[in-house]
């Protein structure tokens, strides 16, 4: 009896797989995105790879990149129709560098990047330059903090260092940087396509699918949007700030960055010899009062700099919605979009003409028809807008996928991923149908899936397949 049932399930699964319109493969490297979309197109499926990255500090990260590249090569027969690089963070691009040779061996027809990565785009150039300078500033501050006598300051520096692993492995040389990974991706195709919010991609090799480009926005305010703190802009830490100037070699720092004319400033050595200043220096340097010294406190601005940088670069995520023209169902890939990025989706309006009928499409239509949601930024709190975002995804068949390794995020990085404030609602909205790279999603026996009835759950389970190998490379979702 049991055997018959098992055989029956296997048959169902095979049918589901064969008939699926698309297979979405999420690789299981840990924290980092790599999604291979294989669209059913007769005997020659079409392949789009969205990102390939492993967060700095992940054990075996280079090996993982090569495994993924090899698997992509095998699945696609050596030809990928398009590769998307959503935004310049290491956990999305590292694979193109770490498995450079493997990717070079592939035939890649197109590379899609956002306007922000376009060297011909003045705004994009400005963004890149600013990111580099801020990163440089944060790293310089960290280098100084590493030698700080204050233990609490060093602990905070270590946490900031973890955050900078989005730009390359901690302590790595410039060659293994996100910028280098982006270049490696860029050279896979002759000329990348740079996308704008509001673009509609209808590749002729992918009939029956429309691809909406929702983001990244060009709006400065939305990119740096500080929700909950309106009007408070964090200028003053950028390239032209006194903060950065003070971190540079003093000989190159311009005098203009000093708060007062230099004649008013006394070095500590000179101050010690001055009758008026000596008592002040003595008080400040007194061993009994060392606990009140502030020598390193200004460097901790690096914390806010790193947060700002992270927020802006994540907001530069290219967000794509794949729509099946026949069923109008949508696959939403939100990359690492933060709130400002989500809010910008309201702006583009797509006008579709079909003969004489014109229809307008907006982001909220797409959200309402979403059946697969690639959860933003490994399930962190700020990367899924609730009202007008997750709450607007009202399709009863919604499935979500999170590229996260909870244990690694919590224990090693000390990050809240998936966010305790978001995850339970995600389970509710999807009726338990959440796929996780770390395999810790709901299972058939899990009480968390109580939102799905038995029949729905079985149907879902039949569409999911986990790589049985060691290590298990991927989890597949077959969209019927």
């Amino acid at each position: 009896m049991a055997e018959t049932a098992a055989r029956q399930r296997a048959t169902t699964k095979r049918t589901t797989k064969r008939r699926a319109r698309v297979r979405i493969r999420m690789y299981r490297q840990g924290i980092g995105d790599a999604f291979l979309l294989s669209f059913n197109h007769g005997s020659k499926p079409r392949h789009i790879l969205i990102d390939c990255g492993v967060l700095g500090g992940t054990p075996d990260s280079k090996r993982w990149a090569q495994r993924i590249a090899a698997n992509v090569a095998g699945e696609t027969g050596g030809r990928v129709n398009a590769i998307v690089g959503t935004h310049p963070h290491w956990d999305h691009l590292s694979g193109f560098l770490d498995a450079r040779d493997e990717f070079k061996a592939l035939q890649v027809d197109e590379v899609w990047l956002s306007w922000a990565e376009n060297p011909q785009d003045p705004e994009g150039r400005e963004r890149t330059r600013e990111t580099e300078l801020q990163l440089d500033g944060a790293r310089r501050a960290l280098a100084r903090l590493a030698a700080a006598p204050d233990e609490a300051a060093r602990a905070r520096a270590a946490a900031i260092e973890q955050l900078l692993s989005f730009y390359g492995p901690v302590g790595a040389a410039g060659a293994r940087s996100t910028a280098a990974a982006l270049e490696a991706l860029r050279e896979l195709a002759p000329e990348p396509r740079y996308c704008e919010p509001g673009d509609l991609l209808t590749p002729d090799w992918l009939p029956g699918v429309r691809i909406y480009v929702l983001a990244p926005p060009r709006d400065e305010k939305l990119l740096g949007k500080l929700l909950g703190k309106k009007g408070s802009e964090m200028y003053g830490l950028g390239a032209d700030s006194g903060f950065y100037a003070a971190l540079l070699d003093p000989s190159t720092a311009s005098e203009a960055m000093c708060p007062f004319e230099t004649g008013l400033q006394w070095s500590e050595a000179r101050a010690r010899g001055d009758a008026a200043l000596a008592p002040i220096v003595a008080r400040y340097r007194s061993p009994d009062e060392r606990w009140r010294a502030i020598d390193d406190q200004w460097l901790l601005a690096a914390e806010q700099l790193a947060l700002k940088l992270d927020n802006v670069v994540n907001n530069l995520s290219m967000v794509l919605a794949f729509e099946f023209t026949a069923t109008k169902e949508v696959l939403l890939f939100a990359a690492d979009a933060q709130i400002g990025n989500w809010l910008s989706w309201q702006r583009p309006v797509w006008t579709l003409t079909d003969g004489r009928t014109r229809t307008e499409v907006r982001a909220h239509d797409l959200l309402a028809r979403t059946v697969f949601y690639k959860v933003g930024h490994h399930g962190s709190h700020n990367a899924t807008l609730k009202d007008g975002g997750l709450e607007a995804m009202s399709h009863p068949g919604l499935v979500a996928a999170i590229a996260v390794d909870e244990q690694f995020a919590n224990k090693t990085k000390k990050w809240d991923m998936p966010a305790e404030s978001l995850y339970p609602r995600l389970l509710e909205k999807t009726r338990g149908r959440v796929l996780r790279a770390d395999g810790k999603g709901p299972t058939a026996t899990d009480p968390k899936r109580r939102h799905a009835d038995e029949r729905l759950w079985k149907a879902f389970a039949a569409r999911v397949e986990v790589d049985p190998g060691t290590p298990s490379l991927y989890v597949d979702y077959f969209l019927p």
Partner: protein, 660 residues
């Protein structure tokens, strides 16, 4: 309007004049008095020039005239260069530039003769003078309202020993960023400076440097954080969405009301606005202008009212009672509290001035076109300054009637009402009703009350049963109070240190007294007492800490005030955090006991139940949501290991979501 107790001018008591030591050696000789040195009274106030707002306003013709004012601060006889006095130690070290700036000597004859240095952005010594003046003024406001000396929160060493901190360190040029904060670990104020943005070149010289230490608002705000930490250290351990928000709101309220206590500024503004009091609310408009000028009090713009740019007509906005439910970010949440208190202030001001307007208009209440009579301007400004002073005092006094842990806005409302009732039993000008109305309109009210009637909001008095239990081994505070009254001896080397040390010792003695009391009770009695004091007194659980002891006799217009002793008892136990079990935290409960020192009776027990499961669950949920922001994602929830980070971050960049 009849004269009411509120009308009485509240002035600082002049300090008793001290005599020069030389004059005390006076030998009485037979046959006439020998010649003696002239006795010079010591000064009581030090006059220091400064900005009323910040340097930007001095460059605008309209406001230049009022922006440079003279602050009067208490005279500190032992003030050293720095300035370094009894309360503050300004050390002007700029680590990013690697330089020290020479300290200002306010006792220099040249400076004494001309009220200190003239305001100047280019002079670091003026910066030192400005932070000193504003911080001292803020301290004085608190001392006046609390009726006791301000003590900074002690330095807690690794072994838990609390060490006296005499002076708050002030670093006027500590940071190169747009930030300023109170660092509770260093007991220091850190002010930053940064290049002005070129986004608003109309007002600010692009590329110029903005110094946070030159803004009266910022200095008053940060100083208030430090003072509040001394009064209520538990507020830096956020346990619900209101705790940090309260810290922010309170600091803003103090800064805001300090503006309104500058009559020169008020006179100028009221005269300029020509006092069309029928359609506009001058003070609200003024607050909005303050907000625009200083980039603070954002909520006042939206929460109090709006000036139509075309007609210049002011309309009061209906407050949104649901806003509090939607708002989680501490600044925004705090802004709602600021708006509520400010609204109460407006109601009180209107009530205080309606008669003046009637008198000035022959009963019609409709002011004619054109400039107002200078006498009327004077009186209106006077009323506004007085009402602002009252509100500030009430807000500060309420701190004594707050629970020792886990403060919510609703608790604070009850504390406000209770505090005011102690001082002004007859509320003839309707202050308490105005406060309740303004709070209710913004959805701020305590949970679990039958009605929001004023007498219902006063904290509960303990039941007869509880009184009887407490009387079995009474907590005798009066001897301490008597000694306390004479601790503040100006001749003592360091009266504040004396006070601190005595209070620590007495807390230890009272701990023993409470234990004796508990020892005299049987289990059932302990249970009753624990329930009423918010403590877990079951055998094996009953470790507790006498957190604070204070004595107060708040002077009031109605009389000398009731002498009270305030004792807070706190319990803490470790509890597991959220879903992951990680992030265990200390769950606190306890009570503030208010004792009438005349009779020894207990007036109020303000409690937060340590045994309440509902409170525990609420705090757990709060801790989960506090990881919600971007900083929370990467750097963890607000925690107790590093309160320094908390305030630095609160004032810096932390993009929060508004949908958590």
């Amino acid at each position: 309007m009849a004269a009411s107790p509120r009308r009485k001018k509240v002035r600082n008591k002049p300090q008793p004049a001290q005599r020069a030591p030389a004059s005390t050696q006076r030998a009485a000789t037979r046959g006439g008095r020998p010649p003696r040195a002239i006795e010079l009274p010591q000064p009581t106030r030090r006059r220091l020039r400064g900005y009323a707002f910040d340097p930007q306003l001095s460059t605008e013709l309209e406001s230049a005239a009022i922006n440079e004012i003279v602050y009067e601060v208490p005279w500190e006889p032992k003030l050293e260069p720095g300035p370094r006095g009894d309360y503050l130690d300004v050390i002007d070290y700029d680590p990013a530039s690697g330089s020290f700036y020479p300290p200002v000597d306010l006792n220099d004859r040249a400076l004494l003769a001309q009220n200190g240095l003239a305001p100047s952005e280019a002079s670091p010594q003026f910066h030192q003078q400005m932070v000193y003046a504003v911080a001292m003024r803020t301290i004085e406001h608190f001392e006046h309202a609390l009726g006791r000396r301000v003590l900074w929160s002690p330095r807690v060493q690794g072994d838990g020993a609390a060490e006296y901190v005499g002076q708050l360190r002030v670093y006027p040029h500590a940071l190169r960023q747009q930030n300023a904060f109170y660092d509770p670990q260093r007991k220091a104020l850190l002010f930053g400076y940064f290049p002005a943005a070129d986004t608003d070149p109309g007002r600010i010289y692009p590329g110029g440097t903005v110094f946070t230490c030159l803004s009266q608002d910022i200095v008053a705000h940060e100083t208030t954080h430090a003072i509040l930490d001394g009064v209520h250290p538990s507020l830096l351990f956020p346990s619900n969405p209101d705790t940090l928000a309260f810290h922010e709101a309170f600091a803003d309220l103090v800064a805001l009301f300090q503006h309104f206590s500058l009559p020169g500024v008020l006179r100028h503004q009221i005269a300029r606005a020509r006092g069309d009091l029928r359609t506009r609310n001058l003070l609200a408009e003024l607050a909005v202008q303050f907000g625009q000028a200083t980039g603070r009090y954002g909520a006042l713009r939206s929460a109090i009212g709006r000036v139509d740019p075309a007609t210049r007509a002011w309309t009061r906005l209906e407050p949104d009672p649901a806003a509090l439910m939607r708002t989680h970010e501490p600044h925004e949440r705090g802004a709602i509290l600021v708006a509520a208190v400010f609204d109460a202030f407006l109601r009180i001001y209107e009530r205080r001035t309606v008669d003046l307007v009637r008198i000035a208009t022959g009963g019609s209440g409709v002011l004619p076109e054109g400039a107002l009579h200078p006498d009327l301007v004077e009186r209106l400004a006077d009323e506004a300054a007085r009402a602002a002073g009252h509100l500030l005092t009430i807000c500060v006094r309420a701190l004594d009637y707050c629970p020792p842990v886990d403060l919510t806005f609703g608790d604070y409302l009850r504390a406000l009402i209770t505090a005011d009732l102690q001082v002004v039993p007859q509320d003839r000008l309707g202050y308490r009703v105005a406060i309740v109305e303004a709070f209710r309109a913004r959805g701020i009210y305590p949970k679990g009350l039958r009605s929001l009637a004023v007498d219902n909001l006063v904290w509960d008095r303990p039941s007869d049963e509880v009184r009887a239990l407490l009387r079995k081994r009474p907590l005798v505070l009066r001897p301490y109070a008597n000694e306390y009254a004479y601790l503040d001896n100006r001749d003592a080397a360091d009266p504040r240190r004396d006070t601190f040390e005595h209070l620590s010792r007495w807390r230890g003695e009272l701990h023993a007294a409470v234990q004796r009391l508990l020892g005299s009770l049987d289990d059932a009695q302990r249970d009753v007492l624990g329930e009423n004091m918010g403590l877990d007194l079951r055998p094996g659980h009953a470790t507790f800490e006498v957190r604070s002891l204070q004595f107060t006799r708040k002077a009031s217009p109605a009389g000398p005030g009731v002498p009270q002793g305030l004792l807070s008892i706190v319990q803490a136990r470790a509890e597991a955090g959220g879903r992951r079990g990680a992030g265990s935290f200390l769950f606190r409960g306890g009570c503030t006991i208010v004792v009438d020192l005349r009779s020894g009776d207990i007036d109020y027990v303000v409690r937060k139940n340590a045994r309440s499961d509902a409170r525990l669950e609420a705090e757990r949920a709060f801790r989960v949501s506090s990881r919600a922001g971007l900083a929370g994602t990467y750097f963890g929830a607000v925690d107790e290991t590093d309160p320094s980070r908390l305030l630095a971050q609160l004032h810096g960049f932390n993009p929060e979501s508004d949908h958590g």
